[in-house]
Amino acid sequence: MKEFIYFLLKIILIIFSPPLMIGIINRVKAIWAGKYGQSILQPFYDIIKLLRKKTIRSNTSSFVTTFALPLQFVSNLIALLLIPFGKIKPFISFEGDFFFFIGLLGLSTFCQIIMAMESAGSFQGMGASREINFSIFIEPAIILLFSSMIFYTKSYSMNKMLMEFGFLSLEKIMVGVILGISFFLLILIEGKRIPIDDPATHLELTMIHEAMILDLSGKDLAIAIYSGYLRIFIFSLITSNIFIPTFISTNLSILFLILIIMFISIVVGAIESLFPRVRMNHIPDFMLLVLSLSVIIIALMFTMNT
């Protein structure tokens, strides 16, 4: 019975949390700008509105869009299924699944890029080239971050890795802080939030993620937008798992998880209000920050080992 409730809880969190996070972020931004702001549920309404609309595709698009779009969505979804929710086990778990996780993220990025290239618009090509340019720096950083967690927990599945990583234990607090910050920065980078990319922009020439979905409409656009939300949720989930202490009960860990995710949304909203976008040629610096943090963790690992 308990297992079944947890199962339902996980499904509810997976379906409703990603748009809700965006709703909270938008609300925080609005409050910061002195406005009343839209409803927290607005992302849901937007997706429902788009699902009702007719889908129009570019004349140049072929079967690639037809299969790349669901593939992108499904790969993000499966990646989400690999992550535990607090102390609740994930849907899928096996030894070495973090490689699978990284592969899925890469596959989703790849699908998005070929989809953008296919519509043959000049903005989509520009967005795709920027995306591929910047994601080069991210993949090694994620591998290094996971490998440091393997070092401390001696386990190769994401389930154990994240569940057993006790942030509050004395020897891990330094690594925990750096890991938390790195994964938090990855939320901003992978979610294409403000210091990197402006999700609210209407300027075609400065877009990265928005440029790639510029040609989609209706149901296609709804799926692409929801995939983007899932991407943010994946990394927020990892970040909050790192900060959940090991010694608390399962029920309490769920509460912790929801609170931390809400806190993350508020912090992302505050960052979006307080910082402007960095210049396009300074974005790699931001990515290299994450990469260098992961290298620092590896260095710490060796010093603690000896």
Binding site: A33, G34, S122, L274, N281
Partner: protein, 500 residues
């Protein structure tokens, strides 16, 4: 040989404009331009009635900003013959020659790129190299801006050239204005047309039209009316500069500054609404005097409002301009050097941000600016940060100016409200007049002539955007394509002012 020396708002006889042969004319232009003069207008003008169809009168207006004088001369050209171009040596002529080629079919030989200025169907430069790609933006843009097409030739993220194709807003408004004036249409209608030449600087254009008619009719308005006109112009400048700063902040995704500045702009334009019933200051200017006077309440409200706006504005902008990430984003973005600004004949914000002190309020003072001059501040970097910062300074200058004028507000000496304000006065015959006002984008210049029947014969209006669009495309060279939106906002040029 010296040309005819004119001054802003001073009426002269039409016969005083010297006539030169074409080669002499061009040689003297280059002499003047080498002697620290700059080009204000270069256009065809109708100087004689009933002339030959193939003969055109070309007029050049040059300005020496240090000594507040303007030089005028004319020449005659036959449109069937080729005319040597001045653009290669003096690039500020390039735009004017393109306009002449389009409108009058004058063929300029050796012009580097004689593309029609306002023809939307003309092809673009196409790169032959496969390493380069082109990106086209517009004419329909996201957001609420006017139509215009931008064609970038890029090497990766770097822009090698930007070609701007305008003309979607061509309404023939100058010809319509001339037609209205000749038909002696009611003055309210003519004012409404003048205010809509460029909708966001309607105060500046109404001001220009008022002083054109007043100088041609030798009317000298009361000092109090001039003061009110100055206040109106500065209110428009404050509102538009705040809106521009808000747009720049929005483009770099600095949301709170953007939202706060938009709210401040509303405070300013609502003040205009309370005074004259239009948020853009329309239906206010008249000939000889204004349609309304300020009472004690208006003055008190305005003073209170402006002090309030100034406090909030300085707080918001201090935060904005001292934010390290904003500085990193805006500094050294799309640099436009002083040398380029000078040879391209830039005016307004882009000239001041590049270190050229060009401002009609101090170079060619008119109205209340003779008593309360506003000196142009300049910065030397010429990047987006400087163009934004110039706006920050100018808003403070304008608020200071208005508060000063309100403190020493002159009393109306003669009560001329019984006079018909909106009646066309009798103009001087056979004369010409150059009028320059400083809109928020830069100087708006006009040249008007009257014929022997005391009617207006021809009119030239040059919007600052005509000079500055070229500057935008030069500023974009070798900068990143993703910097274009913020660079465009920092120039904030008018599409309809260019297309007329």
């Amino acid at each position: 040989m010296e040309w005819c020396t004119a001054q802003n708002q001073v009426i002269r006889s039409r016969n005083e404009i010297p006539y030169r042969e074409l080669n002499e004319f061009q040689k003297e232009i280059s002499d003047y331009l080498d002697r620290n003069f700059r080009l204000i207008a270069f256009d065809v003008i109708n100087l004689k009635e009933n002339e030959d169809k193939n003969i055109r009168n070309l007029i050049a207006i040059l300005s020496n900003d240090d000594h507040s004088n303007l030089k005028v001369a004319t020449t005659e050209i036959d449109i069937r013959e080729k005319v040597p171009s001045l653009s290669l040596k003096y690039p500020s002529f390039a735009i004017f020659e393109r306009i002449l080629a389009e409108e009058h079919g004058i063929d300029f030989k050796e012009h580097p790129y004689l593309k029609p200025m306002r023809d939307i169907n003309f092809p673009f430069i196409y790169p032959l190299s496969k390493e380069l790609h082109q990106v086209g933006v517009g004419p329909v843009h996201a957001g609420i801006i006017e139509p215009g097409h931008f064609r970038f030739t890029c090497e990766g993220e770097k822009v090698l050239s930007l070609e701007i194709s305008l003309g979607y807003q061509k309404r023939g408004v100058k010809q319509l204005l001339l037609k209205y004036l000749k038909e002696k249409q009611p003055l309210t209608k003519i004012f409404a047309l003048a205010e809509s030449i460029v909708g966001d600087s309607s105060v500046a254009y109404a001001h220009l039209f008022s002083i054109i008619i007043e100088s041609l009719a030798n009317i000298f308005p009361d000092k109090r009316d001039l003061a009110i006109r100055g206040i109106f112009s500065e209110m428009e400048r404050i509102a538009m500069h705040i809106a521009d700063l808000s747009a720049i902040a929005n483009d770099v995704a600095y949301l709170s500054t953007s939202a706060f500045l938009q709210a401040l702009r509303t405070q300013i334009i609502n003040n205009l609404l309370a005074i004259c019933g239009s948020r853009f200051g329309r239906n206010f200017f008249g000939i000889g005097t204004n349609r309304l006077d300020f009472d004690a309440d208006t003055i008190e409200n305005m003073r209170k409002n402006l002090i309030d706006v100034r406090n909030s504005f300085i707080n918001i902008c201090d935060d904005f301009f001292s934010n390290a990430m904003i500085i990193a984003r805006l500094e050294n973005t799309s640099i436009f050097t002083k040398e380029y600004a000078k040879i391209l004949g830039q005016v307004g914000i882009s000239a001041k941000a590049s270190g050229l002190p060009i401002d009609a309020r101090s170079n060619h003072p008119y109205g209340i600016y003779r008593n309360f001059p506003i000196y142009p501040y300049t910065l030397k970097n010429g990047d987006v940060y400087s163009r934004a910062f110039i706006r920050y300074i100018e808003v403070q200058q304008s608020i200071k100016f208005i508060l000063e004028v309100l403190d020493y507000f002159p009393v109306k000496e003669k009560n001329d409200f019984d006079k018909p304000i909106l009646k066309m006065p009798e103009l001087m015959k056979d004369s010409f007049c150059i009028n320059i006002v400083e809109g928020f984008r830069g100087e708006i210049a006009s040249f008007v002539t009257t014929d022997s029947k005391k009617d207006i014969l021809d009119i030239i209006i040059v919007d600052p955007s005509v000079h500055n669009w070229y500057g935008l495309s030069v500023a974009m060279r070798n900068s990143a394509i993703s910097d274009f939106p913020v660079t465009n906002k920092s120039f904030n040029l008018s599409y309809c002012g260019n297309d007329m």
